[in-house]
């Protein structure tokens, strides 16, 4: 009995110690972060430099979001060395994103760059920021609201149209296709599908035999494609609303030695490499670097009270084996 008590005490103490260790780590960070801007502000007198930029990423774990977040970080470091950046990873959880918005407001940032997790849910961030008089610049995805300072993104409809046109050309206007959709209800899914509806789904010669959601996920896309390959022996092309799903579809086709036109969107590194190796047909680049630099530039302008446009469009580009080399080491 005594041993047991001793043991529980030891465990409890260890847990507490680790808690203290964790929180003290945070404190150090915070004081560092707080130290910088005041220093900067005193030297810069609130010019371009000492702005505090809060960034709410929906996640840092899907490949594209990671690229966008990293690009924002490195752009701020190189172009605005005096600025303080708080970049928070919402881990694909809307409740987390909202509480992180509250954290940023508590830190009194000058501007928030919002990469919404959810078109409706993330709109709350705008309310929270408005009540604290902090302007919000939305990047990549839009919320259902329009009272943001500015939106920097690419028109996802355009990505769908580029994919649709490319596959129509490759098929010579006739053949059977299937579509792998993203998480149903997200703006990227709805709009990329709209782009497909505007183009390939209108073609008389092309038959879309199946449309299913693989929720942006590589493993789900892989199993769904495996199911399709058994059923549709004459399937010619699979259009994927992102590259992770395209890579999953590719993996499934390769393991069954099936020739397939596969196209995705986002130009993630493995997709580019697969295009270079002649395995994947094409991808559409959603220009992460372009979105990152434009959104940071706009955010800094907004923070300094300058006029900005309400929308900035960053164009999509088609990447095939012909032009892949210029993107592969970007």
């Amino acid at each position: 009995m005594r041993v047991k008590k001793l043991l529980s005490t030891i465990v409890a103490c260890t847990l507490m110690l680790s808690l203290v260790a964790c929180s003290s780590g945070k404190n150090e960070n915070a004081s560092q972060n707080e130290g910088n801007p005041t220093q900067e502000a005193s030297t810069d007198n609130g010019s371009e430099g000492g702005v505090k930029i809060g960034v709410l990423m929906k996640t840092m774990s899907d490949t594209y979001s990671n690229k966008l977040g990293t690009a924002i970080q490195s752009y701020v470091e190189t172009q605005y060395p005096d600025a303080t950046l708080y970049l928070l990873d919402g881990q694909a959880d809307i409740a987390k994103q909202i509480s992180q918005a509250e954290d940023l407001i508590a830190k009194k940032v000058n501007v928030i760059i919002l990469n919404p997790q959810d078109a409706d849910g993330s709109a709350q961030v705008l309310d929270l920021a408005a009540s604290a008089n902090i302007p919000v610049v939305e990047v990549n995805t839009e919320t259902t609201r329009t009272d943001y300072a500015s939106f920097v993104g690419s028109e996802d409809v355009e990505a769908g149209e580029i994919m649709g046109k490319y596959v129509t050309e490759q098929l010579g206007g006739s053949g059977k296709i299937a579509i792998l959709e993203g998480e149903m209800g997200q703006s990227a899914q709805i709009k990329r599908y709209e782009g497909l509806e505007n183009t390939i789904l209108k073609e008389a010669g092309i038959e879309c035999v199946a449309t299913l959601s693989a929720s942006w996920s590589r493993s789900t896309a892989m199993s769904t494609t495996e199911d399709w390959l058994g059923k549709y022996k004459d399937l010619k092309a699979i259009i994927c609303e992102n590259d992770d799903m395209a890579m999953g579809a590719l993996q499934a086709c390769e393991s069954q030695n099936r020739e397939m036109i596969i196209i995705g969107t986002d130009a993630i590194p493995d997709a580019l490499q697969a295009i270079k190796d002649g395995r994947l047909s094409a991808t559409v680049l959603q220009d992460a670097a372009g979105q990152a630099s434009t959104s940071v530039d706009v955010a800094v302008k907004v923070a300094n009270g300058e006029e900005v446009d309400s929308r900035y469009k960053v164009d999509f580009q088609l990447i095939t084996s012909e032009n892949v080399d210029q993107y592969i080491n970007q």
Binding site: V11, M60, L212, S223, E226, D270
Partner: protein, 312 residues
Amino acid sequence: MKIKKLNGMEFAKKYGILIVLIIMWIIMLSVSPTFRTTDNAVNILRQVSVNGIIAIGMTFVIMTGGIDLTVGSLIAVSGVVAGSILVANPDNVILAIIAAIIVCGFFGAINGFFVAYMRVPAFVATLAGMTIARGFAYVYSDGKPYTLASENFSLIGKGSVPIIIFLIIALISHIILSKMKFGRYIYATGGNLKAASASGVKVKAILLKVYILGGVLAGIAGIVLASRTNSGQPAVGTGYETDAIAAAVIGGTSMTGGVGTIGGTLIGILIIGTLNNGLNLLDVSSYYQQIIKGLIILGAVCFDIHSKGSSR
């Protein structure tokens, strides 16, 4: 005549859930030509192998009266640990596999320690473990997915290799449960912890071992998945624990412990796999798939309970 009827009841009692699976297969075979192909059968087996491996671990844990919510997160932990090693050196396949399994086994041991020795309820202990393991996967990988380019590692997920791994694990687990002392102790611990303890079973050690086993199996499942998709992603595996729990419970494992078989879980995971595959083949839209899946799981378990009850 009387004897024959009794046998029928006995059959339904013992094989209720198997009947559900067979009915599903008969329906699918009659409506979908694709379903009749061997390729599709192999396909289903390959798709259930990852979930099947964790469902077997889950069966052990549930049989002790516990539950293990960490397995979905451990799939991600396994993938990123193996991924980091393989990105550094694609030839270090064995090291990657061993490291991933050890790390996941360690997480299992932490679960087991808190459940067995600190007497934290399994739901709470493994719920905490779930978020800790998920956080660990993010911290370890810095949130970035690892892209794998190791030829040898990708063999694990190719062709029928995942199926063979799954079936070997199922066979070993079946032997452990039905033939070995450890298996009997698990039944005893789950059936009545105090009685087992009084009759000399070291229940705490048994619990610890069972949770370690759950972690190790999740680690193996994570490796198979990482190999299948050629990537180690920190966000992968969310919600996998629910399919594993569903498979075990459909297969007749009692949530209160003491009752369950590996064969039952195998049938459970095949029901889930057949459902996923069948709904895709029948072009059921993504929205309806979730509802139908839930209803069929509910119906299957009702049928099973009812067929058991009728002979009582």
